[in-house]
Amino acid sequence: MSTVFKALSDPTRRRVLELLKAGPMSAGELSAQFDVSKPTMSAHFAVLREADLVTSEKVGKSVVYQLKMSVLEDALLGFAQAFGWQLQDIPSAPGQAAGSGPDSANTRKVSDP
């Protein structure tokens, strides 16, 4: 369950899930909606896949993502959107500063060249 909270703690990943509610989308279509680099988007997709909130499938030359959220996870997404959960809000392990994990690098906004 902690992977689900981690996945929902980032606004970009929450936006990806909101976009996927309309139906399956390719990685390119999703990436086009954000002002972040492709490696950063890939890292976001990996976190969502690890939390089992999306599935990916190779269709032709592109990777298509599909929503895979239970009703409870959907409700958690709604709460996260409403109350604006951020990575910094989640208590970190002792001795580890909040947002200093590998995820913090992935959530940093990087403008496309």
Partner: protein
């Protein structure tokens, strides 16, 4: 999530428990031999599937294990209520209420996991976006219906709980079917050339 974490051991234990409870019911009420033997045959078939499945780690194996576990819990619950009823531990109304609550919980669990059942896009025979929409909608409706069903069987007067709970579930199923038809019709009219 259940499907991801469930191993073979709890599934077999739950199925064996259901089988033992069916045997106890048969002993207590041999008059309903046909019903108990039917339940035992069903559980035995589940146990056979669980044993055949082995320790498979594929998506379908995990999904089958989760379904078998859920079904055996439901059957065990019903059989346990029946034993309590026959032993005089429960009044008729309490037994009925417990069974109603179990059905409500089953609706909640089924509805919760319904949108998580994703089929590969390459095997899609219909519009995936529409299927996803209807599955999400059906999931939410079943969870809501399950919560109301459980609440009715806990708090409503026993003589009214049954009718009200059935109406709630029937209403939810009707809404799901109606939405499916409306979405399918909208898709067809959009696909039709002008």
């Amino acid at each position: 999530m259940i499907a991801l974490t469930l191993t073979t051991y709890p599934v077999r234990t739950a199925l064996l428990t259901a089988f033992v409870l069916a045997v106890i019911n048969w002993t207590l009420d041999p008059g309903k031999m046909l019903a108990w033997s039917g339940v035992m045959a069903l559980v035995a078939a589940g146990l056979f599937s669980a044993l055949t499945l082995g320790r498979g780690e594929g998506q379908s194996a995990r999904s089958i294990r989760a379904s078998l576990f859920g079904a055996s819990l439901m059957i065990s619950g019903g059989l346990a209520v029946s034993i309590g009823d026959q032993m005089g531990w429960l009044s008729d109304a309490t037994g009925q209420r417990l069974f109603g609550v179990m059905v409500g919980l089953m609706l909640i669990v089924t509805g919760n996991f319904l949108p998580k059942t994703v089929r590969p896009l390459t095997q899609a025979r219909c519009d995936r976006a529409r299927l996803q929409k209807i599955e999400r909608y059906a999931g939410w409706l079943l969870v809501a219906a399950g919560l109301v069903h459980t609440g009715l069987w806990v708090f409503a007067p026993a003589d009214r709980a049954n009718t009200a709970a059935m109406m709630v579930v029937a209403g939810a199923l009707f809404l799901i079917a109606a939405t499916w038809l409306v979405l399918a019709r909208a898709d067809k009219s959009r696909a039709r050339p002008h």
